[in-house]
């Protein structure tokens, strides 16, 4: 059993006292970021990357810290959904539908325990799914040449634009913006500058971390100024926690189904955790039909979306690790982390740096267990965290963002650029233009261009080469379908009313 021995090796890498400490710290911070409305998983991971990097952590340690944060945010999002009726992050939106009614019936504790256990089931099984699926997909990915990669990148943009956004033109414009920014700097093959305007700082291109922190964290400040911090904490009361065995038993099937749906949604490029929780909830609602009291505080209505979004978080790691193509905003940020650490995801990663991959996977298992302990018996601690008012929280986020970026490059220019991205992020979000394609464009732009150019070198300038293999044709069809199909599906599938929030991405 190759996989088992690899896993054992992974645990060997991940189970040192220091990495365990990092996992605990990461899980704590992650749950906190998830629980605080307005700070989503992408923000949480983004502002901690520069910090982790300047702390001098090695690749495995940084990965342990930040994947713990990532998984932690997925657990934490439910806390404010249930207690405040404000989703802590977008994937937790569906949890408000039954979570808040349960809290109003005085069953907040039960809802938190059930959703915590559902989160655990979802992400633990999804991590097993990752272990099984990733090597298989990696071996398929060996068959991919530059033409296939070009189509694959296109697929990621198309499905992201098609599924995750309401207006295709806006999503595509956002992708173009990101790709356009990625072109700034020295051209890889000729070494000549492009779009630098003679500015020395732009020769190396725009650092994606600056863009990510600006678009996600700094833009949040403006959103909060606009809303006068109205999303901030309200007095929360939570009684004694007991474990509702009856409800847990009743929702076992729900959790397993939610996990399956969420995992598939996560693996598909562009879908991500929000879609995972949405589909898990809707499927469960139609399966149970009149036997459920969905929308009025049915425990299964909390279990389904939480299992779904956590499973999707695990599933989204599959394409990110094996193909280097992230399926969601947060995995895009995780990809940024890998690139910062000089790790190139893709099939070769499994062959060349198995200790990184399996160490990461082992740390996901560890993070899950730590998170279960933190989120069920110790959930009251995080309820306290919700009391932090916005006028303390946002300045803190600002300062951490500035210090992180500053300690990474020591450049005033990068800080200014970050502020510019913050302002840009505010306008994009107000205009309902998704920011994730921008990030994805900046991250993937030069790879996408490289694969196009390498494909053309192979074919000596024959453009039909792009559609010459069955795999690439399949990817092109999927890309076009993924972009166009939602136009028709949107009228069929209406989202149920969920509390409005200044949505960030998953």
């Amino acid at each position: 059993m190759d996989t088992i021995s690899n896993l054992v090796m992974g645990f060997g890498v991940a189970l040192t006292p220091f990495t365990l400490l990092l996992a605990v710290v990461g899980c704590f911070l992650g749950t906190m970021f998830g629980a605080l409305p307005g700070l989503g998983p992408a923000n949480g991971v983004a502002i901690l990357i520069p910090v982790a990097f300047t702390m001098g952590l090695d690749a495995t340690q940084s990965l342990v810290l930040l994947t713990s944060v990532y998984y932690g945010t997925m657990y934490g999002g439910r806390i404010s959904s249930i207690l405040l009726n404000i989703p802590g992050d977008e994937p937790a939106m569906m949890t408000t539908l039954d979570g808040f009614p349960m809290a109003r019936q005085g069953r907040a504790g039960d809802a938190l325990v059930i959703s915590g256990v559902a989160s655990f089931v979802g992400s633990f099984l999804a991590t097993i799914g990752l272990v099984v699926m990733a090597p298989v997909l990696a071996s398929i990915a060996y068959l991919f040449g530059p033409a296939e990669y070009f189509a694959l990148y296109l697929l990621a943009f198309c499905t992201l634009g098609g599924v995750a956004s309401k207006n295709q033109a806006k999503a595509a414009a956002a992708a173009c913006l990101g790709l356009g920014i990625a072109m700034i700097g020295l051209d890889n093959s000729t070494g000549l500058p492009r779009y630098t305007g003679g500015n020395m700082h732009l020769m190396d291109g725009v650092d994606f971390l600056v863009a990510i922190v600006g678009l996600f964290a700094i833009s949040e400040i403006f959103i909060f100024i606009e809303s006068h911090g109205r999303n901030s904490a309200i007095g929360v009361t939570l009684g004694k926690l007991t474990i509702p065995w009856q409800d847990l038993k009743a929702s076992t099937g729900t959790m397993l189904r939610g996990t399956g749906i969420g995992f598939v949604a996560g693996v598909l490029p562009g879908a991500g955790a929000s879609l995972g929780s949405f589909m898990a909830y809707m499927a469960e609602k139609s399966i149970l039909g009149s036997r459920g009291r969905f929308g009025q505080g049915d425990p299964r209505g909390v279990a389904a979306p939480e299992a779904g979004n956590n499973a999707a978080a695990g599933g989204a790691m599959v394409p990110m690790l094996t193909l280097g193509v992230p399926g969601s905003g947060t995995t895009a940020v995780m990809l940024a982390l890998l690139l910062t650490l000089n790790i190139t995801p893709g099939p070769t990663l499994f062959r060349d740096q198995p200790e990184v991959v399996w160490g990461l996977i082992a740390s996901l298992f560890i993070a899950n267990i730590v998170l279960l302990v933190m989120n069920v018996p110790m959930v009251k601690l995080f309820v306290r965290v919700l009391m932090i008012p916005a006028w303390v929280l946002l300045p803190m986020v600002t300062m951490i963002s500035f210090v992180g970026i500053y300690s990474l490059s020591g450049s005033t220019f990068d800080l200014l650029l970050m502020v510019v991205f913050g302002v840009l992020g505010y306008f994009l979000r107000k205009l309902d233009v998704p920011t994730v394609p921008v990030i994805l464009g900046i991250l993937l732009g030069s790879n996408m261009e490289d694969s196009l150019r390498r494909a053309m070198v192979i074919s000596d300038g024959d453009w039909t080469f792009l559609f010459s293999t069955p795999i690439s044709i399949g990817l092109w069809i999927a890309a076009i379908a993924g972009f166009i199909a939602p136009l028709f599906l949107r009228t069929v599938l209406k989202k149920p009313p969920v509390p409005a929030m200044e949505a960030n991405e998953d």
Partner: protein, 146 residues
């Protein structure tokens, strides 16, 4: 309606400028069949189409904040810009306290609470970053530190 049209127009103009810029990119004779110009041109064309699509079919108007809020946000941008310039010469503590207090005040106008937030965040984060995480921060202006 109007916002989306303006945005579409901006996107279209930017795309045209980007396209024009693509023609300015230097190429060398050693280049591959595609060269450094084609991909930027493709981006520009897709961007142009998106801009036109937004002009043609705009979404509903978003809810923009009233003028005083715009002023506040503009002021915040100024504060953050100044912070970017101050951080290197003036060290961490003083600019951070001022800016944290400023941002706090912009979110909730309570002068006393904002000032306390600024000072506590500045000192707290300095201790956290410098001593717990080991980042190389300079506490005070270079001139004072000798």
């Amino acid at each position: 309606m109007a916002s989306d049209r303006i945005f579409g127009l901006v996107v279209a103009i930017l795309a045209l400028a980007y396209l024009a810029g693509a023609f300015q990119i230097q190429t060398s004779f050693l280049s591959d069949p595609v060269g450094p110009r084609v991909f930027p041109m493709m981006i520009a064309v897709v961007g142009l189409l998106c801009g036109l699509a937004m002009l043609w079919k705009p979404d509903a108007e978003p809810e923009w904040p009233p003028l005083p809020v715009w002023m506040k946000m503009a002021l915040t941008v100024v504060i953050l810009t100044l912070y970017a310039y101050m951080l290197a010469p003036l060290g961490f503590l003083i600019p951070t306290a001022l800016v944290a207090a400023g941002v706090s005040y912009m979110i909730a106008p309570q002068p006393a609470k904002a000032a306390i937030t600024g000072i506590c965040l500045s000192v707290g984060l300095f201790v956290l970053f410098k001593y717990a995480l080991g980042l190389g921060l300079v506490a005070l202006p270079r001139a004072l530190m000798g």
